[in-house]
């Protein structure tokens, strides 16, 4: 049969992200995918010209709704390093706690959406029910559900009291039990395996060559996680990246599933080691110089390039997000699969187009 081009997105019933793929199909098999981006470009990097570096924290938090805390952490790290600010240990631990809570709620949201992509509506709702507890923790400790804006240059704005710590640990027990109860449904089910195992395979070599990031990379057997850079308080926490070797959609979802449980462990460790002391230090002056900082977002490596010249306004902020890195691997995954599997494979990289286009 002759080649046909089928447009996929930017509005699609199973894909919440505004990405457009032109799928070149022959019979039911996808030969090639041509991406088109730019539907949600907001020009946030340009805002650095009219917002000073303190206000930019609130701007970069809005790059992505779901990992906003980690964007702010990455940005603050850069500015703090440029200004040689010594961040208090307690603030570093608090950043880890809020960062890991963000990772958990992002992964739980994704696990739900992934289940929804292959028509598993009840698991979708179950995961989101668990996620609601994380949102409650964020709301109670930081004052907002999603964009918590707790980070400032020099530390954090809010503290977590010992009572709140106990409450968080108690809630996390419930979250862990809930996730474990869904483990077999999500990972051992015949129907789920049928839709995910061996679908959208990305080999280890391909993953490295195409520059994949985050769970997409770790799902292909590469143990690379930016938390290994020991930023924030990760130098004192017991941490090992989660790796799966299959390289298919199943491996990627398994990486995220296991990372959710790992985040619970990291939060428990951080709370048990939470040192006493101040949560921020006053910052004076303006940053000068240029720097690249990296943190691990739920979707992978997040990179910030900051250039400052001693003024209130930064010269340049360049944000490179993990989904941007994961688009070329996605195109490699989509080649050769059935058309019906495309939504599942596209979702398996956890695309965040809002991040990508900034």
């Amino acid at each position: 049969m002759a080649k046909t081009i089928i447009p996929f997105g930017p509005q699609h019933p199973v894909l919440p992200e505004p990405v457009h793929l032109k799928l070149v199909v022959e019979d039911e098999i996808v030969i090639e995918a041509i991406p088109a981006l730019g539907y949600v470009h907001r020009g946030l990097e340009k805002l650095t010209e009219i917002r000073d570096y303190h206000q930019m924290i609130q701007v970069v938090e809005r790059v992505c709704g779901i990992c906003s805390c980690l964007h702010a952490v990455c940005f603050c790290h850069g500015i703090e390093e440029l200004m040689k600010v010594d961040v208090p240990r307690r603030a570093k631990y608090l950043r880890v706690i809020w960062g890991e809570l963000h990772r958990m709620h992002s992964h739980l949201l994704w696990l739900g959406l992934f289940a929804d992509a292959f028509g598993f509506e009840s698991v979708f709702q179950q995961f989101w029910k668990i996620r609601e507890k994380i949102m409650d923790i964020l709301e109670a400790t930081a004052g907002n559900r999603v964009i918590i804006s707790v980070n400032v240059v020099g530390g954090t704005r809010y503290d977590i009291s010992p009572e709140q710590c106990r409450w968080i640990l108690q809630e996390l027990n419930g979250v862990e039990a809930g996730i474990n109860a869904l483990q077999r449904t999500m990972m051992d089910d015949y129907t789920v395996k049928h839709r995910t195992v061996g679908v959208g395979v990305l080999t280890r070599e391909q993953a490295i060559e195409l520059g994949a990031a985050g769970p997409t990379l770790r799902g292909s057997g590469v143990a690379q996680d930016m938390r290994m850079l020991k930023y924030a308080a990760f130098d004192e926490l017991d941490f090992e990246p989660v790796v799966e070797t299959g390289g298919d959609s199943y491996s990627r979802s398994n990486v995220r599933f296991r990372e959710t449980l790992q985040s619970i462990d990291l939060i428990r460790q951080a709370i048990s080691k939470l040192p006493e002391g101040p949560i921020n230090v006053p910052v004076k002056g303006n940053p000068e110089g240029e720097i690249i900082t990296r943190v691990e977002q739920p979707r992978g490596e997040l990179m910030y390039y900051i250039k400052a010249s001693g003024k209130k306004y930064l010269d340049r902020v360049r944000i490179r997000t993990p989904t941007f890195a994961n688009v070329p691997p996605l195109l490699a995954m989509v080649g050769g699969i059935e058309l019906a599997n495309v939504p599942v494979v596209v979702l398996s990289i956890d695309p965040c187009i809002s991040c990508t286009e900034r």
């Binding site: 609130q58 004052g143 449904t185």
Partner: protein
């Protein structure tokens, strides 16, 4: 197979996970950042809030004594509350209700009297120039 069964039974026996909003509203958390409130009597119209605001939703007019906030541009970060020198700004823990039309939160206060020193120096300046 049937891995969902324990979950299904548990959900049957436990109470609902959802609420019948708006008939049943959850108690807001203590630290929740809701609406921005200004106690205008304590306001000195220094304009610190409008300078620090990342979304620039606050306008302060020193001369007329009008303090205005666009609650639909506000991002509920409470940076202004922390920056306020007189602590007249605060955030309550009730979230803003959805509305069909946008409105401004405008407050009329007593504008600060112009400083005497500033007036004096203004008068002095032309005298200096003469010399």
């Amino acid at each position: 197979m049937l891995f969902m069964t324990p979950n299904v039974i548990k959900n049957f026996l436990s109470k609902k996970a959802t609420r019948l909003y708006p008939f049943e509203v959850r108690e807001p958390f203590e630290g929740y950042r809701g609406e921005l409130v200004n106690d205008i009597d304590g306001c000195i119209f220094c304009g610190m809030c409008s300078k620090k605001c990342p979304s620039q939703c606050i306008t302060v007019d020193r001369t007329t004594g009008i303090w205005e906030c666009d609650p639909y541009a506000c991002i509920y970060c409470s940076i202004c509350v922390e920056a306020c020198p007189t602590k007249c700004l605060s955030m309550n823990n009730v979230h803003r209700k959805p509305a069909a039309t946008k409105s401004m939160y405008t407050l009329q206060g007593v504008p600060p009297k112009p400083k005497k020193k500033a007036a004096d120096t203004a008068e002095d300046k032309p005298a200096k120039e003469d010399k």
